[in-house]
C-alpha cells in the first residue's frame, strides 16, 4: 500500500507547553501567598482582591485548569498525533482551542479576584465563563475526534481511551454542576439548593479530581512512560481493566466528601463503598506503571524524566490508598475539615500532577527542539528540591490535621470542651510556616526547570513540523472473527458512548433519589426564606469566599454539638442557592453563628478580627464598612429566587427594597446603642443581617415545640 507523508504539528504542543510552565509558576505563587496569609494575615494587604478567600480559589483554579489543564493539552496534542499517525484534525481548531483556553484563564483570574464567584469549590467561575468553557471544550472534542477518525493506526491505544473518557465525563460534570440562573452579567444562583446542591457539587468536585487530574494524566503516563523507558507497558491487559474499572467506580465516590453531614445516609454509604473499591483499579494502574520499569531501574538512576515519573506514580498510589481510607466514616470523622485533607490533595497535586507534568516537559522539550537537555544535574536538583518540598509541605500538615482534631475533640474531666477553637489555630502556626517553606522549595525547583528548559531551547532548533509517514487505513477492513474489545477500539465513537453510559450510571443512581424522593429532605416548617437584606448579605459572604475557611455544617458529634450547637439538618438548607457547607475549618463552623454575638461584635470583628479574638488569623475586611450595598440588584435577585422555587409572595420583588431598608435601619440603630455610628446602607449591615440569621430558624422551631409541650 502507498505510504503517505505528513507532518506532526509541534507548534501547538509548544504553545500549550509554554502555557503549562507559565501557569505552573502563577498557580504556585498564588498558593504560596495563600499559605503565608494563614500565619501572617497582614499579607492579605487589607485589600479585597488579595484576601485568602479570593486568592485560594485563584490558586485552585489556576493549578487545576491552567497548569494541569494546559499540561493535559500539551500531552494530548503531542501523543494523540503520534498514536494516530496523523496530524491534528484542524490547525485552526487547535489554535481556537489554545487561545480560547488562555482567554478563559485570564477571565477566570480577573473575575475571581474581583469577587465574582458561584461559591462552589473548583466551579467558582460565573456563568459567562462557564459557557465559554463549554464551547472551547467542544472545540477540543471535535479536534480530538476528527484526529482519531482520520488516523492511520488501526487500534486505539489505551492512552486515547483515557483521553476520550476524560473529554466526555468532564463535559457532563461541568454542564450538570453549572446549572445556574443568571441574575445579571457575572452573578447567578445555583439551580440546586442545600443538600442537592452539595450532592451535585461533590459529585462534580470529586470527579474533577478523577477526570481532570487523574484519567488524562494516566493517559499521559501510558504514553510517556513507555516512551521514556523505551519498553511497552508492563501489562496491557491490566491497563484495559484499569481503564474500565476506574471510570466505572470513580463516578460513584463523590458523597465521601459529605460523610456525617445532612446528606441522606444511604448516599453516604454508597460513596464509602465505591471509594473503597477504588483502591483496586488505582493500585492496578500504579503497579502497571512501576512494573513497566522492572529490570530498568538503572535507567531511573540516570534519567530525570523517569525519576520524576517514579515519584509521581508512587504519589498516585499513596494518594489513592489514602483517599479510600479517608472515605471510611470513622477516619473522615477525624480528618474532615482539618489540614489532613490539604496534605492529602497536595500529595496528589504536587506529587502526581506536578511531577508528571515536569517529567513530560523534560521529555518533550529536547525532543521538539532536536537537542539534549541542557543540564541533567539541574534537573536532578529540581527533582530533589521538589521531593523534599513535598515532604516538608505534607508532613507538617498531617501533623497539623491530627493536632486540630485532637484539640477540637478533647473534653476536660468535668465534661467541658478543653480548648477554644482559636487555640487550635495558634497551636499549628509553626506547621503552617513549615508547609509554606516546603511549598517555596517546590516552587524554587520549578523555577530551576524554567531556566533549564530555556537553556535547552536556546541551544536547539525548534522542529515546527515533524515529518512522518504511514500507510493509510484501508477503507474497509476485514477483521474476520475478532475480539469484542477490538470492536470498541476501532469505533472511537462507540467508545465515547460506552464511556458515557458507564459514568452516567453512578450519577443517576445517586442523584435521582436525592432529587425526587421528598422524604430525603424533611421539611422544617420554621425554616423561612432569607429577607432581602440577608440575601444580599449572603451574597457578600459568597463573594468574599468565607466558605474557604468556614464550614456551615455541624456534624452529629458530641464535641461539635457542644462547641457550635445543634447539629445541622437537611431541611435547614432548602433555600440555600448555593449551599455553603464548606470543606475546611481554618476558622470555626458558622452554622449556628446567628444570635451568638451582638451586632457590634461582628462589626468590630470584620474591621479588625484580632481586636475581638486576639491571635486570630482571619483577614480584615475594612472595605465592607465603607462600601455601600448595591440595592439595585435586589428585585432581580428576588425574581430569580422565586423562579428557583423560593416562596416569596408574588410581587415581592417590587417591595423588597423597602423591607431591606427597614431591616438595615434597625441594625444601624442597634449598632448606635453600642456606640457605633454607621449609615444603614453599608455592606457590613447586610453581612451582619445574614450572619445573625444563619442557623436560627431551627431554634424557633425548638422554642415552639417547647411551648407546645408546656401547654400540653
Amino acid at each position: 500500500m502507498q505510504v503517505e507523508k505528513f507532518c506532526y504539528d509541534n507548534k501547538i504542543v509548544k504553545a500549550f507547553g509554554y502555557a503549562t510552565v507559565i501557569f505552573a509558576i502563577v498557580g504556585m505563587l498564588a498558593g504560596l501567598w495563600a499559605a503565608i496569609q494563614l500565619y501572617a494575615p497582614a499579607t492579605s494587604l487589607n485589600l479585597a482582591p488579595t484576601t485568602f478567600g479570593r486568592i485560594r480559589p485563584l490558586h485552585t483554579n489556576a493549578i487545576i485548569f491552567a497548569f494541569v489543564g494546559n499540561c493535559i493539552f500539551t500531552g494530548v496534542y503531542y501523543s494523540l498525533q503520534r498514536l494516530c499517525k496523523a496530524r491534528m484534525f484542524s490547525d485552526k481548531l487547535s489554535w481556537i482551542h489554545f487561545w480560547g483556553w488562555q482567554l478563559i484563564i485570564v477571565a477566570a483570574a480577573v473575575t475571581l479576584l474581583m469577587g465574582y464567584t458561584s461559591g462552589k469549590e473548583y466551579a467558582e467561575l460565573e456563568w459567562p465563563v462557564d459557557i465559554a468553557i463549554t464551547l472551547i471544550w467542544v472545540v477540543f472534542g471535535i479536534n480530538m475526534f476528527g484526529t482519531i477518525l482520520q488516523r492511520r493506526e488501526k487500534h486505539l491505544y489505551v492512552a486515547i481511551w483515557f483521553y476520550i473518557a476524560t473529554w466526555v465525563t468532564v463535559a457532563m460534570l461541568h454542564i450538570v454542576n453549572s446549572f445556574e440562573i443568571p441574575v445579571s452579567f457575572m452573578k447567578s444562583y445555583s439551580w440546586y439548593a442545600g443538600v442537592q446542591d452539595a450532592l451535585v457539587q461533590w459529585w462534580y468536585g470529586h470527579n474533577a479530581v478523577a477526570f481532570f487530574l487523574t484519567t488524562p494524566i494516566l493517559g499521559l503516563m501510558y504514553y510517556f512512560l513507555p516512551k521514556a523507558a523505551n519498553r511497552p507497558v508492563y501489562s496491557y491487559r491490566l491497563s484495559i481493566i484499569h481503564f474500565w474499572a476506574l471510570i466505572f467506580i470513580y463516578i460513584w465516590a463523590g458523597p465521601h466528601h459529605l460523610l456525617y453531614t445532612a446528606l441522606p445516609d444511604w448516599a453516604q454509604s454508597l460513596g464509602t463503598v465505591f471509594s473503597l473499591m477504588l483502591i483496586f483499579p488505582s493500585w492496578g494502574g500504579m503497579l502497571n506503571g512501576l512494573f513497566t520499569l522492572r529490570g530498568a531501574w538503572d535507567k531511573v538512576r540516570e534519567d530525570p524524566v523517569l525519576k520524576f515519573m517514579v515519584v509521581a506514580i508512587t504519589c498516585y498510589g499513596m494518594a489513592t490508598l489514602e483517599g479510600p481510607l479517608l472515605s471510611l466514616k470513622n477516619i473522615s470523622a477525624i480528618a474532615h475539615y482539618s489540614d489532613w485533607i490539604i496534605a492529602h490533595v497536595h500529595i496528589g497535586g504536587l506529587g502526581w500532577n506536578g511531577f508528571m507534568a515536569f517529567a513530560m516537559l523534560y521529555y518533550l522539550v529536547p525532543k521538539m527542539w532536536g537537542t539534549q537537555l541542557h543540564s541533567k544535574k539541574l534537573a536532578t536538583n529540581h527533582f530533589w528540591l521538589g521531593t523534599i518540598g513535598i515532604i516538608l509541605y505534607a508532613v507538617p500538615l498531617y501533623w497539623a490535621g491530627f493536632t486540630q482534631t485532637l484539640m477540637w475533640k478533647t473534653f476536660t474531666p468535668e465534661g467541658q470542651l478543653k480548648f477554644q477553637f482559636l487555640e487550635s489555630v495558634t497551636n499549628i502556626i509553626p506547621m503552617y510556616i513549615t508547609r509554606s517553606v516546603g511549598g517555596g522549595l517546590y516552587l524554587a525547583g520549578a523555577l530551576l526547570m524554567c531556566y533549564n528548559l530555556a537553556k535547552t531551547i536556546a541551544a536547539g532548533k525548534f522542529i515546527a513540523n515533524e515529518a512522518a509517514e504511514a500507510a493509510p487505513l484501508p477503507k474497509k477492513i476485514n477483521y474476520g472473527k475478532e475480539h469484542w474489545h477490538r470492536w470498541i477500539e476501532r469505533r472511537p465513537l462507540t467508545l465515547l458512548v460506552v464511556s458515557l453510559i458507564v459514568v452516567v450510571i453512578g450519577g443517576v443512581v445517586e442523584m435521582i433519589p436525592a432529587f425526587l424522593v421528598k422524604s430525603n429532605i424533611p421539611t422544617i416548617t420554621s425554616v423561612k426564606p432569607y429577607t432581602p437584606l440577608e440575601l444580599q448579605g449572603r451574597d457578600i459572604y459568597v463573594r468574599e469566599g468565607c466558605y474557604t475557611c468556614h464550614s456551615q455544617m455541624i456534624r452529629p458529634f458530641r464535641d461539635e454539638v457542644a462547641r457550635y450547637g445543634e447539629y445541622s439538618k437537611a431541611g435547614e438548607f432548602v433555600y440555600d442557592h448555593p449551599f455553603q457547607w464548606g470543606s475546611k475549618r481554618t476558622g470555626p463552623d458558622l452554622a449556628r453563628i446567628g444570635d451568638k454575638y451582638p451586632d457590634s461584635w461582628h462589626y468590630n470583628h470584620m474591621d479588625d478580627p484580632a481586636s475581638m479574638s486576639p491571635g486570630s488569623v482571619m483577614p480584615a475586611y475594612p472595605w465592607l464598612l465603607d462600601d455601600a450595598l448595591d440595592t439595585a440588584s435586589t428585585p432581580a435577585k428576588i425574581r430569580v429566587m422565586q423562579k428557583l422555587g423560593v416562596p416569596y409572595p408574588a410581587g415581592f420583588d417590587k417591595t423588597a427594597n423597602q423591607d431591606l431598608t427597614a431591616q438595615a435601619e434597625a441594625i444601624s440603630a442597634r449598632l448606635k446603642k453600642d456606640k457605633i455610628e454607621t449609615p444603614a446602607n453599608k455592606e457590613i449591615i447586610a453581612l451582619i443581617a445574614y450572619l445573625q440569621r444563619v442557623g436560627t430558624d431551627i431554634k424557633l422551631e425548638q422554642k415552639t415545640m417547647a411551648g407546645e409541650t408546656t401547654m400540653q
Binding site: 501523543s79 503520534r82 498514536l83 499517525k85 493506526e153 487500534h155 491505544y157 489505551v158 492512552a159 501510558y222 504514553y223 513507555p226 516512551k227 523505551n230 519498553r231 511497552p232 507497558v233 496491557y236 491487559r237 491497563s239 484495559i240 481493566i241 474500565w244 474499572a245 466505572f248 441522606p264 445516609d265 444511604w266 525532543k367 532536536g370 515533524e466 512522518a468 504511514a470 475480539h483 469484542w484 474489545h485 477490538r486 458507564v502 450510571i505 443512581v509 433519589p513 424522593v517 422524604s519 430525603n520 424533611p522 422544617i524 452529629p556 439538618k569 431541611g571 431551627i698 422551631e701
Partner: protein, 56 residues
C-alpha cells in the same frame, strides 16, 4: 425534629441497590472474562504502538 431513617422512606430503595449491584457485577464479570480471553499476540502488538514511531 426527629432524625428520620431515610432508607425507610424511599419506596423500593432495595430495587435501586440491587439493580446497581447487578449492573456492577455483570459489568465486571463481562469485562474480566473478555480481557483474559483476549488474543495474546494482538495485545502485545497494541501495547507497542507508542514505541513504533521512534522519532530521531
Amino acid at each position: 425534629m426527629k432524625f428520620i431513617n431515610y432508607l425507610e422512606k424511599i419506596g423500593g430503595v432495595d430495587i435501586l441497590g440491587l439493580t446497581s449491584f447487578g449492573i456492577f457485577f455483570i459489568f465486571f464479570i463481562v469485562m474480566l472474562t473478555w480481557v483474559f480471553k483476549a488474543d495474546k499476540s494482538k495485545i502485545e502488538e497494541i501495547s507497542r504502538i507508542p514505541l513504533d514511531n521512534q522519532e530521531q
